[in-house]
Subunit: 257 residues, 2 copies
């Protein structure tokens, strides 16, 4: 095997959650965890997420900052028919291109709404930055779009998920991050010293420690992440031995954190 | 009433959620919505939230960026006893001060753990940036801390919430944002034009439109936010009339989005 074959390729992403309703605490975001898992499966590392308000200046500057810092950017929210749906215009501004009516998006909306109901407001959902590619929406027809490395998705979780499932073929992942998860009823502080030593011996892995407290039950879940299966297996074996030495009973996959 | 009394005072905040487990999709964040609601009640506007990884460089630079951009910063995550708990060190680095053992935090931990169990790892939880003030933890004794305008809290929701409830007296809010929420079964696109016109007539209010699709039920929740009760009431009255004109039945407070 050539060395280049074994080199790890790191592909990164950032998620922008756009919406005053998340920042006011009115709505609990449900999109970040879905996108995080979907990207992980594709070998794309979600490196940052930001929640920002429906504010033109903030959206434009944030889109420009993160699209140059990460390989992919996914936005959620702000692409409906109402006055507060400003994401498409902001992304057009960020790319310095006009917002246009996309003929195919318009046609899709025409087939979706009964005659006479595709009003001016709904036609806003056919507007995309010039040069954008439509992302099919299997649920409500108003498409998302891609321009450059930025994917613009709606905020309603079921629709966002439907569009994401269909855009996956556009994404090129890198080396996949694998993970294993071991739980036990030991206190985090009892394990900490040996766990730190394990991390030092496995600098190529990320070892995370997540205490849990639930229904009178407590313990810790240790999550090991890395790109090489054999290294993960070796570290898990050492970890299990360590937990047993301290009087614990390691259980794999019982994620509780 | 003096003009200065009626002036709106805007106090802003940013939340930093620190942790690889949120970015991998393993853990669903539960802290943002809680902090958002708590800050809103205090008259503090949450303007941005970021989810960032357990990475020293990223944490230090992000803390420094947001503490100069917002009045208050709240971090969650990374203050436990294990090697991956690096938030205190990063905040110390961001402020350019050493990380020290806080005598009172050490004393609290000594009273919490049985004799001999306050090991070196657990003592990490007594380390704070020099000059930091402890934030009492009513649940597990390991305190959070405040330095400058940065409040450092743990990631476990119940503990974070306990500390937040006790630190509120340290926060000085501005003019409170009030909100009213009207739901109806009209489609968003049917309302959009008139809603946009309403927003133009009430530039001092934020009017958000959030469609919902649930268990065969669909409709839209309109959220009006602003600092003046009478303006909100006037806008709600106009909105209710508008919804009725379009054949809908406005219901207050039935938040569905």
């Amino acid at each position: 095997m050539d060395v280049s074959d074994t080199e790890r390729r790191i592909v990164t992403a950032c998620v922008l959650i756009i919406g005053n309703e998340i920042l006011s605490g009115r709505t609990q975001d449900a999109n970040l965890a879905f996108l995080a898992r979907g990207l992980t499966e594709l070998g794309i590392r979600l490196r940052e997420a930001r929640v920002i308000p429906d504010d033109i200046g903030v959206i434009v500057s944030t889109v420009n900052e993160v699209r140059s810092a990460f390989d992919y950017v996914f936005t959620t929210g702000g692409i409906g028919p109402t006055h507060d749906d400003i994401t498409a215009q902001c992304v057009a501004d960020a790319f310095g291109v006009p917002l246009i009516v996309h003929p195919e998006a318009k046609r899709l909306l025409e087939t979706h709404y009964p005659p006479g109901q595709l009003n001016e407001a709904r036609l806003r959902m056919a507007m995309v930055p010039e040069g954008a590619v439509l992302l099919p929406n299997p649920i409500s027809r108003a498409p998302g779009f891609q321009i450059g490395n930025v994917f613009v998705l709606p905020g309603v979780p079921s629709i966002m998920q439907g569009i994401f499932e269909q855009l996956k073929h556009r994404l090129v992942g890198g080396t996949k991050m694998l993970s294993r998860s071991i739980s036990c009823h030991l206190a985090e502080g009892a394990l900490a010293k040996d766990l730190g030593a394990l991390q030092v011996r496995y600098p190529d892995l990320e070892i995370g420690s997540y205490p849990y407290f639930r229904r009178g039950d407590f313990g810790v879940t240790l999550v090991l992440r890395g790109t090489e299966k054999v290294r993960l297996a070796a570290a898990v074996e050492e970890l299990n031995a360590l937990i047993r030495t301290l009087g614990g009973d390691p259980q794999e996959g019982l994620s509780e954190a």
